[in-house]
Amino acid sequence: MRRRRLPALAAACLAPALRPVAAQAATGTGAGAVDERVLRIVAPIEIGGLDPARSGFIFTRMGVVETLLAADAEGRPVPALAERWSVDAAGLEWRFTLRPGLRFHDGSAVTPGAAVASLRRALADATALARAPVATLDVAGRDVVIRLARPFSILPAVLANYGSGILAPASYDAAGHVQAVIGTGPYRVLSITAPMRLEVERFDLWWGPRPEISRAIYLVAGQGEARAAMAESGQADLVFGLHPATMARLRRNPALEVRAVAIPRSRILKLNLASPFFDSLAERQALDLAIDRQGIATALLRNPSLAATQLLPPMTGDWHLADLPPAERDLPRARALLASAGWTPGPDGILRDRQGRRFRVVLTTYSTWPELPAIATALQAQFREIGVDVDVSIGNTSDIPRLHRDVTLELGLMSRNYALVPDPLGTILTDFAPQGSDWGAMHWTDPQLAAALARLEGATAPEERRALTQRASAILHEQRPVIPIAWSELAVAIGRRVGHVAIDPFETSYRLQDMRWREP
């Protein structure tokens, strides 16, 4: 693929945009690239800023920024900048020993002090680390020492979250804003045209084996059809976020491999349990029984195996209950349960309670995930069959937390990521905290779940963790503070040029450093 640079006119227009980039490129360690092939990645998510707390996931995925620890394909912590770590018997003092000879992309040495400085910034921002019970952050020799206020077994997973990425001190300006992303990863920033494009090149002083791919571009295409066209026209080597409707077409294309990987993300229905419509378990079970999950997964998501019989998908290990029978739609039982809760059909077929109140609720959802409005209308039709009248309100992502705060939410359909921290416990702890949570339970507490989660926070023995995890999942399944609808998959189109592609279900990294060109 031959590309000509924009000539003089464009250069004049864009000069202000490109100047900081040129400066950044000049300070780097030139690799003297021989291989002119550039790997092109197309994804829907825009670069919203340079700070690790903001669009940090793009910089960790592209191998620019690294964290002290990373996660393997099962979500288990593995060494990254820290080559080993240990915790004292009380589970309060954690030590992370940095690899020797680490370098930032500007050539400066990676010191424990620099790592601590980055982590301190993460603690002060809206990151996963800020939710961990961190008491102090210190330096001891080559170690970063984190002291906790109480035992917190998933600290390694929290440190693998992009918000805990380590940047060089020179990344920050005097006011503490990130002005350049100077990380430690296998690739360093060549240019950023926020919010649409990031170009990286191999960093030769990286601690790991030398990657084969020498240059890569991250390009944003917000529209699903445009992304599909970029895959089909050979414009991109990896295209993330394919819509279910286009996957079948791309699969027929011999020049592409389409891979769909199960990820720990679920589409769920959030219920306000203080509302008279959902305060009894019978009502929630009735709604659950009225849902045609197979139909939704087959018709809207084009993959029947995504029908969610429980909150967390099989790939989450102990969080998944293996022995659960598949969820069958059962309208007669659903009607009987509603009758037992005092709801009887009125003349228009809509249920009424003893005070004559109609079972009419608003289901709030958003279109960031294009399938959600479609699923919402499917649910509307399915609930209508048991006499529940649903109005669908489609807004944006912030509506659900806002209505949770106002206590005006009745039903919310959302897509919840349980892998922000590569151990689902990190998300479950906040989502099902006793006081409720914006993206989890609303007006629901269960002392047994609270006890199980509290013990899980401190537990380290694998058998104990497994038993507690299964117990917590069983309670969530029996009580249904949220109703699972469908699990998710990450669909990727891979061009024939590139091999050794591994898709990380926790989406922490694209693993560019492991990829190879198919022809040398």
């Binding site: 089909e232 414009q235 944006n396 922000l420």
Partner: protein, 320 residues
């Protein structure tokens, strides 16, 4: 000579006054509209800044405190006006970058796109319109009319998608997205140009038809000019005035097209930025973008006025 200078200066000065007024109005209306939108600004900003998966009430509260979003609206507006007077558009609430810096990058890309689309639309629309006008009522006229109706009726989004499927996926001639070279510029600017050409071809046709039937051209023929010279010397110049005025209007219509086309093709211009800023409730960026667009419209109108004045000196004499 002084009269001549005044003839050119007067409309420019009046446009300058208009520009100031537009800046004030656009800023205030943009501010009012952004606050009239449903939803909570702090939540929207936090969702945009941190990503939807991590935004919660705590992040929104921190955002509100950091940016002082709970201060009285009048105070926030006055602050903005005060800054604009000092030529400071503030910082984006999402990225924290100075608005002027973001606009500079985006404006460059949009100027590139518009600068390509406009000549392209003239290249497509004007010859077709002139041909239709010269052969009015015959087959070229009907063919151009059908094509114009079709292109105008198809929304830019659908047209762009159709071109993408045809030229990128099927024929593999052009890349469907990205913004790294001239090749990437062709599809979005062609999408814009076809929509514009649909209108300009109609105006050119009407204008040429009117001039062709006018006494001016009849006199030119009568005094012995060949058909070609008559059209070239008297027809085109007379027909150009309404066409130019419409081209100016089209530039304003271009803004609408740019919003959609930039979003579809992932072109990092001002339209794409405006859409995102509105969704994110990034008020300074919305105000800044609207301000620049408003001033751009005034500037273009001034340029069109000036060009009409140069083509048709009668206008200046009338004004004087």
């Amino acid at each position: 000579m002084g009269g001549n200078a005044w003839r050119v200066l007067r409309p420019l000065l009046s446009r300058l006054g208009q520009a100031g007024l537009v800046a004030l109005l656009v800023g205030c209306i943009g501010f009012a509209l952004m606050h009239a939108l449903p939803g909570d600004q702090a939540f929207r900003l936090a969702a945009e800044r941190y990503g939807p998966d991590i935004v919660d009430a705590r992040a929104a509260a921190a955002m509100r405190a950091e940016l002082g979003l709970d201060r009285p609206l009048a105070l926030q507006l006055l602050e903005w006006l005060g800054r604009v007077v000092r030529l400071d558009l503030g910082r984006s609430l999402v990225t924290g970058e100075p608005v002027i810096q973001e606009l500079r990058v985006q404006l460059g890309y949009t100027a590139l796109l518009a600068g390509m689309a406009l000549p392209l639309s003239a290249l497509i629309g004007l010859p077709l319109g002139i041909a239709a006008g010269l052969w009015r009522g015959r087959w070229p006229d009907h063919a151009v009319l059908s094509l114009a109706v079709l292109l105008r009726a198809v929304p830019a989004y659908a047209l762009g998608l159709a071109l993408m499927v045809l030229l990128s996926v099927r024929l593999r001639w052009l890349p469907p997205g990205g913004f790294e070279g001239w090749a990437e510029l062709v599809l979005p600017s062609l999408t814009l140009a076809l929509g514009l050409a649909a209108v300009s071809s109609r105006v050119a046709r009407e204008s040429v038809a009117a001039v062709a039937a006018s006494p001016v051209l009849a006199f030119a023929r009568w005094k012995g000019l060949s058909e070609r010279d008559a059209v070239r010397r008297h027809g085109l110049r007379n027909a150009a005035i309404p066409v130019l005025a419409v081209l100016g209007l089209q530039l304003i219509g271009l803004v609408e097209g740019i919003l959609i086309v930039e979003t579809l093709f992932g072109w990092p211009g001002i339209g794409h930025a405006l859409v995102h800023a509105i969704f994110a409730r990034d008020v300074p960026l919305v105000q800044g973008t609207a301000l620049i667009m408003g001033l751009g419209v005034v500037l273009l109108n001034a340029a069109v006025d000036l060009a009409c004045l140069l083509i048709d000196p009668r206008r200046g004499r009338q004004a004087a």
